[in-house]
């Protein structure tokens, strides 16, 4: 099992979510993050003083899937998140050792995604 963890632009999320759902991956979590990368800061002015901002709002997607599904997820994200401009973000893949579904207490790959076939393909 792997965690696919992506930092992307907000407006990329909706098509990603839609595609993943169609592909049988409804389950994911997102959170608001602020990121810095290859960008200059923005300087804000207020009553004669200034404050500079180097961080930009991004959304982080966390999606745990069976190892065999990682590439599908990554490709879907890359496809929709790319605008070609600086700030498109990064995707990372990390190992996950165990997974539990709280509702039932079950564990293992089959708890990962709602779509029955999603984990089935893992063999």
């Amino acid at each position: 099992m792997k965690l696919v963890s992506a930092y992307i632009r907000h407006e990329a999320f909706e098509p990603i979510r839609t595609d993943l759902l169609e592909l049988g991956f409804p389950s994911l979590s997102i959170m608001e993050v602020k990121g810095s990368g290859r960008q200059k800061g923005i300087t804000e002015r207020y009553r004669g003083a200034e404050v500079t901002n180097y961080l930009r709002p991004k959304v982080k997607i966390e999606c745990v899937v069976a190892s065999s599904d990682v590439q599908t997820i990554v490709d879907t994200i890359l496809k929709h998140a790319r605008t070609g401009a600086v700030g498109d973000g990064k995707v990372f893949v990390m190992p996950v050792e165990e997974a539990y579904r709280v509702r039932t207490g079950e564990s293992g790959e089959e708890v990962l995604q709602a779509h029955p076939g999603a984990a089935a393909g893992v063999g």
Binding site: R9, H10, E11, A12, F13, E14, P15, I16, R17, T18, I30, E32, R38, Q39, K40, G41, I42, T43, R56, P57, V59, H80, T83, G84, A85, V86, G87, D88
Partner: protein, 463 residues
């Protein structure tokens, strides 16, 4: 025909009454923001819809029915003319037809009509703070109809309109309505609360109260300040004119009481709660304003700080007490309008000065001037009003509960009234995840050619 001084005086009086009424009308915003401040962020749009709806139902029903019941004649129980109020209509005689020198509706009498309407609307607004965050929307218009057609008009008639309570003793003293307006509203709130129960999560299984803090103290403060402002119409406007500049004295009395209420609540909060609770300080102002409402036309200036300070103490103690009694009243209306309304009405029996009892021609001086009988009259007024309003309100809310249900279901309460009853959060950016709120993904065609959405032009590669 040359205009007379009487014409001029009538126009001045009409101007003042209308200005005062407009100030009282604005108290609707005061109640709205006091309630919004004391609500959680998921229940705030509902307050806006509620206040507009109640005020509107009340306006129409008061015009059609309520005014006639309250002021359409001097019978002992209810008035019986003035329905569907309009210019040129004829009214049955009452104290007010005499005061205005006409039984035919004209301009100045219209000012009186409107002034009395905004009082009804204030009383109705008071009912709902206690029911915040869980009552169904449908309860508002139904109760508003009954309240504005029957409940409030009856109390108003009994005390203000020449009904039986203005006949016992020298009459119940309630200058601007500590009982008529405030106790009435709080009693309606109590009836609703008993049928409604506390908010989900307010009391743990151990029975201990849990704080459900209001989401916005600045907006609460706005509410308090607007109410304070409006009270300068409420009490001084109840002079119904400008004779001898009496209303200016009432302004001072009102303000001194409110100020003392703030200090009273501040000190009581420090002593009982070991903190300077912002909500309690604001409640102190409101409670003192409620308390001084009845005596504002009857007491000398020196009595005002006393009455106010006691009210400030009462409201803090009352809120803590009701919290223990498992009466979950998010805004403290039972204390600020109920207990303080009772205190204010009774305080006439203590502090009314002979000069002002005779100026108003109602009742007698109070205890500190050596007369105990007025206090008894005041107590009768309080009890009569409470019983009437409680019975009618409990019946109305009981009926609503039986037919529609009074309370949203648990899921809706957890989600908040805004999304559950009004289809959208009051603060969408707080509750809807940003990617879903913006969702330009829905527009892929538009997206591809669009430039990368850098927040500003300055966002360019640094390397």
């Amino acid at each position: 025909m040359r205009p007379t001084v009487e014409t001029a005086l009538s126009q001045i009086d009409t101007t003042w009454v209308i200005v005062a009424a407009i100030l009282v009308m604005f108290m609707q915003a005061g109640f709205a923001f006091l309630e919004i401040g004391f609500s959680r962020g998921k229940n705030v749009g509902a307050v806006v819809a509620k206040i507009l709806t109640n005020f509107s139902v009340s306006a129409l029903v008061w015009w059609a029915v309520g005014f006639g019941v309250a002021f359409g004649g001097a019978a002992s129980i209810a008035g019986d003319s003035g329905f569907f109020f309009g210019y040129g209509h004829t009214l049955n005689p009452s104290f007010f037809t005499e005061l205005y020198g006409t039984e035919t509706v004209n301009g100045p009498f219209s000012a009186f009509f409107f002034f009395q309407f905004v009082f009804c609307a204030v009383s109705l607004a008071i009912v709902w703070g206690t029911t915040l965050e869980r009552i169904k929307f449908i309860a508002y218009p139904i109760y508003a109809v009954v309240f504005s057609a029957v409940i409030y008009p009856l109390v108003a008639h009994w005390i203000f309109g020449g009904g039986w309570l203005s006949d016992i003793g020298g009459g119940v003293q309630d200058f601007a309505g500590s009982t008529v307006v405030h106790l009435t509203g709080a009693t309606g709130a109590l009836a609703a609360l008993l049928l409604l129960g506390p908010r989900r999560g307010k009391y743990g299984p151990d029975g201990r109260a849990r704080a459900i803090p209001g989401h916005n103290m600045p907006l609460f403060g706005l509410g308090v300040l607007i109410l304070w402002l409006g009270w300068f119409g409420f009490n001084p406007g109840s002079t119904l004119g400008t004779a001898e500049g009496r209303f200016a004295e009432v302004v001072i009395v009102t303000n001194l009481a409110a100020a003392a209420g703030v200090i009273g609540a501040l000190v009581t909060s420090r002593v009982l709660q070991k903190t300077l609770d912002v909500g309690m300080i604001g409640n102190g102002a409101i409670a003192a304003l409620v308390a001084i409402t009845a005596p504002s036309g009857y007491v000398e200036m020196w009595a005002a700080p006393v009455i106010g300070a006691v009210a400030g103490g009462i409201v803090v103690g009352g809120v803590l007490m009701f919290e223990r009694l498992r009466l979950d009243d998010p805004v403290g209306a039972l204390s600020a309008h109920g207990l303080a309304g009772i205190w204010g009405t009774l305080s006439c029996g203590i502090f009314t000065s002979p000069r002002l009892a005779s100026f108003n021609g109602i009742g007698e001086e109070g205890l500190v001037y050596g007369n105990a009988s007025q206090l008894a009259v005041q107590a009768v007024g309080v009890v009569a009003a409470f019983v009437l309003v409680f019975v009618l309100s409990f019946a109305t809310f009981g009926l609503i509960k039986a037919v529609f249900g009074l309370r949203v279901d648990e899921e809706d309460e957890a989600a908040g009234l805004d999304i559950a009853e009004h289809g959208m959060y009051g603060y969408p950016e707080q509750f809807i995840p940003r990617p879903e709120l913006e969702g330009y993904g829905a527009a892929p065609a538009a997206r591809t050619p669009a430039p990368a959405p850098h927040p500003t032009r300055q966002e360019v590669p640094a390397t």
